[in-house]
């Protein structure tokens, strides 16, 4: 009975469960990144992000002010409160770093050399020693620290020097680098799909072959060429580079889509006397909109996230940094140890691609399917 079309499989709960499981599995790292983006470097290395919503019992060190010692019979005594703000609860305390939680609050702990220390739960302490106090004695205590989140990381990134310039630079790179390849690829795809000329099959095979060439191979020769023709490292250069690197996929995707358009429409247009250019602009282009949009999303995401091509084809001064370079080379700290910054930078830099994706995603699925299934 399970295989009859239109009936619900009795195992659909298993499908649902596995989908939920996979989605959760997929989202956990993102959630961790989001939580980490609100914590600073020390917190991140001290405890896992999954512990961050809870109060954590932590040990602290405090130096008692030797200057406030007073004489009490044979003893020197320091009194006061461990919490400068007066708030908090001592869970345990101790007199040595190696055993910071030796005593419970209210107890009198005997330390080395006849010294003693009493700490109450509210932080009040009495420290007694038979000898004169030459420097601040250290005491240790455990207390629960409430969860602590801050927007500091976001602030560091959003308000860092030249971040606005970097944002504009990224847009300057991304928008032309998305539009130019689409324009060229649409023309090329139409020609490869609907115009009859010698060597067409060979050209298509070439384009498919180019898909598997890694772009890293072309970096040095391409930059050499740019230097020779006088473009050098500039925005014009990076547009051309992105265009070149994006074209094989664009042509392949768009050709496969256009080839699938109904032959009758195009032939009847030709019978009516339409030129190839008219067929292209009036019929094929409007019909290919889903494919164009889906490729635009791809190319936009890829150029937005790109670090390598930007580092090679743009000048290295800070005025021409794009956001990825700015984040990687300037904000992550000199040895890449600022995990909190990395996490929040990730969320800031995906904001724009997310907007682009959600406004255009309904074309994405349609476009992709249409291109691949004839």
């Amino acid at each position: 009975m399970d295989n009859i079309a239109g009936t619900k499989s009795s195992l659909s709960w298993a499908v649902n469960l596995s989908v939920i499981f996979l989605v959760v599995l997929w989202l956990v790292p993102t959630l961790g990144l989001l939580v980490s983006s609100f914590r600073d470097r020390d917190q991140i290395s001290a405890s896992g992000w999954w512990l961050s919503p809870f109060a954590v019992e932590q040990n602290f060190q405090a130096s008692l002010p030797a200057g406030e010692a007073r004489r009490d019979g044979d003893f020197f005594v320091i009194e006061g409160n461990l919490f400068s703000g007066g708030e908090g609860e001592i869970l345990r305390f101790g007199g040595t770093r190696s055993n910071p939680t030796a005593f419970a609050p209210g107890e009198t702990g005997d330390l080395r050399r006849d010294r003693s220390l009493t700490v109450e739960a509210n932080g009040d302490f009495i420290y007694r020693t038979p000898s004169e106090i030459s420097r601040d004695p250290n005491v240790y205590y455990a207390t629960a620290t409430p969860p602590d989140f801050s927007l500091d990381n976001y602030q560091t990134i959003l308000f860092s020097n030249n971040m606005d310039v970097a944002f504009i630079n990224t847009l300057t790179v991304t928008i032309p680098a998305t539009i130019i390849p689409i324009l060229i690829a649409a023309f090329a795809a139409y020609a490869l799909a609907w115009m009859d000329f010698a060597g067409r099959g060979f050209l298509i095979a070439m384009v498919v072959g180019l898909l598997v060439v890694p772009l890293q191979l072309a970096l040095v020769p391409l930059l050499q060429l740019h230097n020779k023709v006088g473009i050098g490292q500039s925005f014009l250069g990076i547009w051309m580079a992105h265009t070149g690197f994006g074209l094989p996929l664009a042509i392949y995707l768009l050709r496969n889509y256009m080839v699938g358009l109904p032959r009758d429409i195009i032939e009847s247009a030709k019978v009516d006397g339409a030129t190839d250019f008219q067929v292209f602009t009036k019929i094929v282009l409007p019909l290919s909109f889903p494919a164009l949009a889906s490729f635009a999303i791809f190319q936009f995401l890829w150029t937005w996230n790109d670090l390598l091509v930007a580092k090679v084809f743009l000048p290295s001064n800070s005025e021409s940094w794009v956001m990825t370079v700015k984040i990687a080379d300037d904000l992550l700290g000199s040895r890449g140890g600022d995990w909190g910054i990395l996490a929040s930078a990730a969320f800031i830099s995906i904001a724009v691609p997310l907007i682009v994706f959600f406004t255009m995603q309904r074309y994405l699925v349609r476009g992709l399917l249409a291109g691949s299934v004839k």
Binding site: N59, S98, Q224, V312, S318, A328, L332, S334, G337
Partner: protein, 451 residues
Amino acid sequence: MKARFYAGAAVIGLCAGMAQADGHQPFAVGEGPLNWDSYNEFAEKYDLSGQTVEITGPWTGDEKAKVDIAFSYFTSATGATVNYSGSDSFEQDIVISARSGSAPNIAVFPQPGLAADMASQGLLTPLAEGTADWVRENYAAGQSWVDLGTYADQNGEDQMFGIFYRVDVKSLVWYSPIAFDELGYDIPETMEELKELTDLMVEDGETPWCIGLGSGAATGWPATDWVEEMMLRTQPPEAYDAWVANEMKFDDPAVVAAIEEFGAFARNDDYVDGGASAVANTDFRDSPAGLFAIPPACYMHRQASFIPAFFPEDVVVGEDVDFFYFPAYESKDLGKPVLGAGTVLAITDPSDAASAFIEWMKTPIAHELWMAQGGFLTAHAGVNTEAYLDDNLKAQGDILLNATTFRFDASDLMPGEIGAGAFWTGMVEYATGADAEEVAKGIQDRWDTIQ
């Protein structure tokens, strides 16, 4: 909404403006312990108005801010603009830009090995004649700095290509003075004492060392430093040099013994925080955190002078944490060897201003301007050590200037495939239980295949 946006933009603009104003030339000419005579002399000698020096290097973030300040005085002395840009992936970027003909005027190499590679391909320009003599006379342990800056050019002739600016001292052990004081431990003066102290800590029920080898794609490099330290402390410096040049094979008993000396610390479950199995898995950036834990997870951490950058933010060097020289064996009579690393400047695209900038590097003031901002050590013997930002840096500078032997990080000098490849992975294998002899043999086999 729009008004708020403009207000936001104005705030951003203001912040940007203020940050720049703050970052500009904090040292007034003629004031403080800095050698302003050398500045004025240089300013009189050179007028490069309108010219530009493009420099790229590995310093980013905070370090870039300090470099920009230090280099801005070259601008005010000569009129030439300095554009420094730092890159996180400098090693790859410089090769691409030099090969494609868009190299900066000067490149700052974190590894002499890479500079030597590029010199042999004819991508570097030799420094002015006499630079070698100058370095020999004016740097502490001068000859070793000349050797480190001299590479074969594309014709196989040795020339001086690089001058060192900024040195890291590696032979340091970081510890918590408070914890040492409470438990009554003394700073060890010799390796024998250090081993006794280690055992004493274990007897007291404590864990002496924090060791972490993790570093992303470079995992294993902290262990190469350990082995190099042990080489310098068990073998004469000549043997170390022979090892670097592979005249002494990697599986030589002397090298294997040095690896096993490292293993004596790192492969003893009682000695290392988390046990020996944790060594290879702990990130080197996280490993010093054990010093500051309460109760301490460990009491000592051997790492280079840059490591305070990874200490928790509220830690004060000198109070919460301090360092001592990683001692040498008293019984071996090898003096006080110091292991270090450094960055070397070389000309990738010659110009008058670039040559003048290399001359600037010879003035004490060029070094002092960064010393005074912290995070910088120099081997330039002509600087006023009073210029160091604090006593800790001064003490590290003294370790450097008093070294009987200074040797550069061997893994940075070996061919990239070994020093930034087989040596790293071999050390990870060793730390996770492989036999020292087999590991050394594996590295030597790799070396044989590239010769």
